[in-house]
């Protein structure tokens, strides 16, 4: 039933071959074809702009007041590409290999290889748009390293890479809006997909200012709606990030792939109290220059700078000498949790470890600058001062952000950090063409499950989002639409539109009519707590089974006791949030179910029952070498379909970063 449509042939020729043979739509016909793009983050904006340029009639939607504000804007550290500008042995194959290995052998080889191939085009495209990447003095592009790799292939713009890439895509999108090729609907939320004769033919959206529901037709529908990390309530995602669009598609028949694969990022600012509304990431790029440590003594209450060198445990460097501070995220997160659970944590809550820049500030940057300036035997104060200048240029905004939030100056004292929910590898199941199992319904960017297996490497989400939007969908969608050129736009008076809109309106009325006692936020917090404790960094059978019961209970309580003030036909942020939290609750249950089914540890999914002697994740390839694609059957009822993963080029082995 699941056809991944992987083209035949040699791995490195599949994409070239595909492009050479896929069906095309001629320019005159493109103008007759309408495409709906939901979401205008990196994936959606790049797709909408590129499809508009090709001549399709595009309608794009986002819930923020401008496409420039999508969650992608917050990405900090960088974007990978196999350019090998550093001459350090990088290649398309190596990027492909690192990504497959980083994902703990749970991703499709064909997709990942294509991703590595087009990575180089992304950089060229962005430079041409005027994205101001970091440069060296010679005027050429600069690179930094990210976790899980031993080469420098990450392109960046200080700690604001996502912002600069999104602004590039946004500008390309606004250019198409100006040319009349794209019609932009801001402050609109998609609340259902309309399926006619098995094909996606449009959406129901709600205007978030007037509260009115609308019907929109499209020959195809693209969901570029981001990830669902906010199911945990606290995460590094933007406040509005949600699963609603993907979830509605799921309930309409689209399979959900690997829902339990979530990424916990090791370096985030720790929680300070119950008021906490979100967590702030401190980019992985900081691990280029920051060293992670805890005191060697348990419950050591001394200030960080008072603890002498020999009493510090640089536990990542100790446990993983080959990769040191640059091990992948899942490994680094678990190691931090292990130290804190064992009583070595720091700060008031003891749920934190240090990320310390002093060593590199002095030894790496300070000394180079001093030697450039011809200062002989510089003292430590001089080295610190000189080093600071360089660090400021590399990560200045991140250091400022840390100081604003914590009130501490990270140039002087080490940052305190702790793992937090960050990214979701799972998402709508898609085939090689990025099409879900519903004809004409596509999923791009973080919203699909595709390329990162069980753990995403740093700087590869931006790469995937832009690959999907700029370089994959413009080809693969043609292969479908070529057969649709005879399909006239379906009037939105069609019964399927009517039914879908009525269902959406009914649900809104039900929600607002509950008039219970508890706020939406309080339900969201409770869901987050269940998920974090029982489906978070470590999972086990007992906890997951309990979580499922608790979530079902929470769902009942939500639908009988949620309080939503205000009215339907006006701007009502509580109502918007209520719909999203209701979907998160259902998703939470499926995540636990998926985590329960997968009785192995792989990547970010750590089942306590399945670990090696020294506490590393232990896979069971014989039983779980598959993508779990869940079909929605009804309330709390799903059927599992398995897409077997075939490794033709890489031989899966136990990951080793030692």
């Amino acid at each position: 039933m699941l056809d991944s449509k992987i083209p035949a042939g040699k791995l490195e020729e599949k994409w070239v071959d595909y492009k050479g043979h896929c069906k095309l739509v001629n320019p005159a016909n493109k103008r007759k074809i309408e495409i709906i793009v939901v979401g205008t983050g990196l994936a959606g904006a790049s797709a909408a702009a590129s499809l508009g340029e090709l001549g399709y009639k595009v309608k794009a939607f986002c819930f923020q007041d401008s496409p420039r504000r999508a969650h992608s804007i917050a990405a900090q550290g960088g974007i990978n590409a196999a350019k090998n500008y550093q001459n350090d042995g990088d290649s398309v194959f190596r990027l492909f290999y690192d990504t497959i290995k980083g994902g703990d052998y749970r991703a499709r080889e064909s997709n990942v290889h294509r991703l590595a191939e087009v990575s180089v085009n992304i950089i060229d495209q962005c430079v041409a748009q005027g994205v101001p990447f970091a440069r060296e003095y010679g005027g050429l592009l600069n690179n930094r390293s990210f976790g899980g790799t031993q080469v420098k292939r990450t392109f960046y713009a200080a700690g604001q890479t996502g912002q600069q890439l999104l602004i590039g895509a946004y500008q390309a999108l606004e250019r198409q809006v100006a040319l009349g090729n794209v019609q932009m609907y801001t402050r609109h939320e998609m609340l259902d997909v309309v399926v006619i004769d098995g094909k996606a033919r449009g959406i129901i959206a709600r205007d978030l200012i007037s509260g009115k529901t609308e019907r929109h037709f499209g020959h195809a529908v693209l969901l570029c709606t981001g990830g669902y990390g906010n199911v945990f309530y606290l995460s590094t995602n933007a406040m509005g990030s949600n699963v609603t669009a993907a979830w509605k598609a799921h309930r309409k028949g689209a399979f959900f792939g690997n829902p339990c694969f979530t990424q916990i990022h090791p370096t985030c600012i720790p929680v300070t109290g119950d008021h906490q509304s979100k967590l702030t990431l401190m980019s992985e790029s900081l691990r280029n220059d920051g060293r992670i440590w805890v005191p060697k003594k348990q419950n050591d209450d001394r200030k960080a700078n008072d603890i002498p060198e020999e009493e510090r445990d640089y536990y990542l460097e100790r446990r993983y000498p080959a990769f040191g501070n640059l091990v992948p995220r899942d490994v680094a997160s678990r190691a931090a949790k292990e130290r804190c659970d064992a009583g070595f944590g720091v700060g008031t809550t003891k749920q934190a470890v240090y990320l310390d820049f002093r060593f590199n500030l002095i030894n790496k940057y300070g000394r180079v600058e001093a030697s450039k300036l011809g200062i002989e035997n510089p003292d430590e104060a001089t080295l610190v001062r000189l080093g600071k200048e360089v660090v400021k240029e590399e990560y200045g905004n991140l250091f400022d952000m840390y100081e604003k939030i914590t009130g501490e100056n990270p140039y002087e004292v080490p940052m305190r950090i702790y793992p937090a929910v960050h990214y979701t590898m799972g998402g709508l199941w898609v085939d090689y063409e990025l099409m879900t199992n519903i004809q004409g319904l596509y999923a791009l960017g973080e919203a699909n499950f595709s390329d990162h297996g069980a753990n995403r490497l740093g700087a590869s989400a931006l790469m995937q989002g832009l690959a999907d939007g700029y370089f994959v969908i413009p080809y693969t969608i043609g292969n479908y639409l070529a057969d649709e050129i005879g399909t006239k736009p379906i009037p939105t008076t069609h019964e399927a539109f009517e039914k879908a809109e009525a269902a959406v309106s009914d649900r809104i009325k039900t929600l607002i009519g509950i008039k219970g006692k508890q706020s939406v936020e309080s339900f969201h917090k409770r869901l987050g707590k269940i998920m974090w404790e029982k489906c978070g960094m470590a999972r086990n059978e007992k906890g997951l089974k309990e979580a499922i019961v608790e979530i079902q209970q929470l769902k009942k309580e939500f639908w009988s006791d949620v309080r939503i003030p205000g009215n339907i036909n006006e701007m009502n942020t509580e109502l918007d949030k209520a719909g999203r939290v209701a979907d998160f609750i259902e998703l939470g249950e499926l995540m636990c179910k998926d985590a329960l089914d997968r009785n192995e540890s792989c990547g970010g999914h750590f089942r306590e029952e399945s670990q090696t002697e020294d506490g590393e994740a232990l896979r069971h390839d014989d039983q779980y070498m598959y993508v779990a694609a869940w079909e929605y059957k009804g309330e709390s009822d799903w059927q599992l379909h398995k897409e077997k993963l075939e490794y033709e080029v890489i031989k899966p082995s136990q990951r080793n970063y030692k």
């Binding site: 406040m239 509304s277 309080s522």
Partner: protein
Amino acid sequence: MEHYSMNLTLKVWKQQNASAEGNFETYQVKDISSEMSFLEMFDVLNEQLIHDGKEPIAFDHDCREGICGMCSMYINGRPHGPWHGTTTCQLHMRAFKDGDTVVVEPWRANAFPVVKDLVVDRSSFDRIIQAGGYVSVNTGVSIDGNAIPIEKDNADKAFAAAACIGCGACVAACKNSSAMLFVSAKVSHLALLPQGNTERKNRVMNMVSQMDKEGFGSCTFTEACEAVCPKEISITNISRLNGEYAKASLASDKQ
């Protein structure tokens, strides 16, 4: 860092929708921790309002990391509040002390009509970008990224200008409601790079003309914008825009 807790009086602008009259409402909030962000303090207030059966205050926010540009509160007479180079979402409650009264309003400018409470419509900024804030290049160029070396100094300046988050604080701070800092940041970003060179004349003319059409006021160089810009966009960008504009006008005169 010493943490403390505080009680505050809030005077917040309430306005049901674009056409309704608005007014200030007064609220009391208690036991606010100095570790909270300003928006988390608003979360506390909104939870309290919902609990009391009232409607919460609508405000725009998303990333809460100072980068999306969505948050937009005019706090005690200053866009984004008292901290320099800081968005509303990054402002933390240690900026206030027990017993303070805090007045919160939406951005006020003709080109930014109020949608509800503290939410305003900034789509005029998108239309200014549509007028020319881009490089006209389609997907699929094949020039290698390193084929265009860019002097580091120019690249850095372009990046500093491109850091604008489109929040609109510059407009809110300006007595003329001018959008010059925003427009000049985009003009500078692209004018400083070789990629933006071909279209630089049309770009500046069209963007400025759209800015005027949207009803933003003219720039009288009061520098109020720079003082409140959360990304510390420099007013030298305005001088650069003026230079670009003069050159472009001259060129079109000669035709």
